[in-house]
Symmetry: C2
Subunit: 351 residues, 2 copies
């Protein structure tokens, strides 16, 4: 045994596959089917490689300023990190230090319980309703903090801002984190509430609507106090994380609002069209406001569909887990990709 | 008080200043005075920006393969992360889970105790000798793991491989981490020992000798078991951290060994020349084998010199801390920068 006795044993994470075969239609990891803004390419070409010898700006001021301007908040209200996973993990560490359990839904982003365990934070999951909505009452009890995605993942279900505001208002003794990774596909953000409620942190990402999963950029917005606590915690043990290309190329992405609106608009239009077509084929699903659908079929089990799709080089996501084992999570691709997906379903379901 | 009661309060880290004035001679954060390899620039121009929409390869296979080839180890013996801070922090989390204290020197890299506190790891610091060497005996006692930099920071003192091997051999029930951030400036690496001792992890970085502090790339090498544990821990709670530019540009840097040898050779030559000149000026210092000197003056207090240098736009590092309050840490810059530094000292000390 020897040195292995002191080693942390974990449940390794199983990510959506990243196939190397370029023929695959990849609808399994909620990436954007369109490239980032052309301004990102331009910024890439302008990175001063001689500057790489220096540590990057630990405050990533340029990127923070661009985000602050875009969202009309103060730079002191913005925190950036290496993907929203980094930002969320830091927020768990910083804000969830109480002895009461942190609350989040039973069906939700798979890293919440992992971070809670990692930082030894007590938590309790609250069951979603049968149609995958949050039951407000579950969050109106004493707790050590609250976090949920809106829209939720992997369900795509969007909650009303008014309902979320009730939860925030009733929980001013703890921090409430709304994880808006998928908010740009038709949802209404709670961001305007950060000036009204000191206990609200809104987290977003460049990985979906800004088509930059490969850059790893996430950010949080909240009142200055929360952001300062986050920064203090982060800088106390890892000061330099956002590299120079992330800062430069991320900044460029934020500046191209026209492109952002165009691509998110296209994804929303494709999603609504695919919903109609899938309904005709006998699928049921949540009214997803994300860049993915969460769908099951009235006759054919999801596991079977998942395997049939995969054999035909169409990758979607499937979890053989309680309550969601008869659902597929299908990322919205380009119109062409979705047409091939629908065509396969039509032919498969008619045989 | 409200929500602030549950918030983690920390001692914020004070980094070496990153002045915006381009006239400053910046000898305060141990960066490389030369730019990265021209191959890095070339790789930068070739990054496929369309691929940024996809998550990066979580295994960073291309970079791992390049490092494995360079160091003549197996890819399964290499772990990469966002700077060596990320790698070291992950190693603390993964390997130091015992109940006995982890051991490291009293004067050493300032993040070791921070990570230990963060992950609630018990630790004990072992005083260096008067001339800042490790006392081997201090590490031949029951412990939960061992870590020290070689050469040490901020002292620059290099320990013999044979002495380190004795420590590794005597501690096969725990993991021993040798932090070789500064090994490429004339030190002998313990890397060849990873096939002999299963409990040895060697950590290095692109931030110093490879002139890429702005990219944030660090790596660890050890036997396959250790590397698998590290990967499992990392992937379990943050799967995607190395972004596409880091993977591509990091790989390019590893491939230019001629440039690497040329720049590290220049830094070593400059360091040895500066040692001689500083000695003539009445400085005493360790025989640093790093890209910095750790020096005090026989008559003038270090704090005074620090302020005088700063007023003249020459930034070095100074800590007003027990045992090192009469020392400056001076990064080795270009010959031209060091000549201006020496010139200032000559004139200051003669007045």
């Amino acid at each position: 045994m020897g040195f292995e006795q002191n080693i942390r044993k974990v449940e390794p994470y199983v990510a959506g596959e990243q196939p190397k075969n370029p023929g695959v239609i990849k609808l399994n990891t909620n990436e954007c089917p369109y490239p980032p803004s052309p301004l990102v390419k331009e910024a890439e070409g302008k990175i001063d490689y001689e500057k790489l010898r220096l540590y990057p700006d630990m405050n990533a001021e340029k990127l923070v300023d661009a985000l602050a301007e875009y969202y009309q908040v103060k730079p002191s209200q913005v925190f950036v990190g290496v993907g929203s996973d980094d930002v969320l993990s830091m927020a768990f560490l910083t804000f969830f230090n109480g002895s009461l359990p942190v609350l989040f839904p039973d069906i939700t982003y798979s890293f919440y319980d992992v971070w809670a365990d990692l930082y030894r934070i007590p938590y309790k999951t609250c069951p979603l309703t049968e149609d995958f909505h949050i039951r407000k009452e579950d969050y109106l009890v004493p707790n050590g903090g609250i976090i949920f995605p809106n829209p939720n993942a992997p369900t795509g279900v969007l909650e009303e801002v008014s309902m979320i505001e009730e939860i925030i208002r009733a929980n001013q003794d703890v921090v409430v984190i709304i994880d808006e990774a998928y908010i740009d596909f038709g949802g209404e953000s709670v961001l305007p509430l950060i000036d009204k409620y000191e206990n609200l942190l809104v987290v977003q990402t460049f990985s979906k609507s800004r088509a930059m999963a490969g850059m790893r950029i996430g950010y949080a917005m909240g009142n200055e106090k929360l952001i300062r606590y986050l920064k203090d915690a982060k800088f106390s043990f890892n000061s330099y994380t956002m590299n120079l290309p992330s800062i430069e190329m991320g900044t460029a992405a934020v500046k191209d609002d026209a492109y952002f609106k165009e691509t998110t608009g296209k994804i929303i239009a494709t999603r609504e069209r695919v919903k109609k077509e899938m309904k005709k084929l006998g699928f049921f699903f949540t009214d997803s406001m994300s860049n993915f659908l969460f769908a099951g079929h009235e006759n054919v089990p999801a596991g079977e569909l998942f395997r049939a799709l995969k054999e035909n080089d169409i990758y979607v996501r499937y979890w053989n887990k309680d309550r969601i084992s008869n659902r597929l999570r299908i990322t919205i691709g380009t119109d062409e990709q979705m047409d091939r997906f629908l065509e396969f379903l039509r032919s498969y379901l008619n045989n």
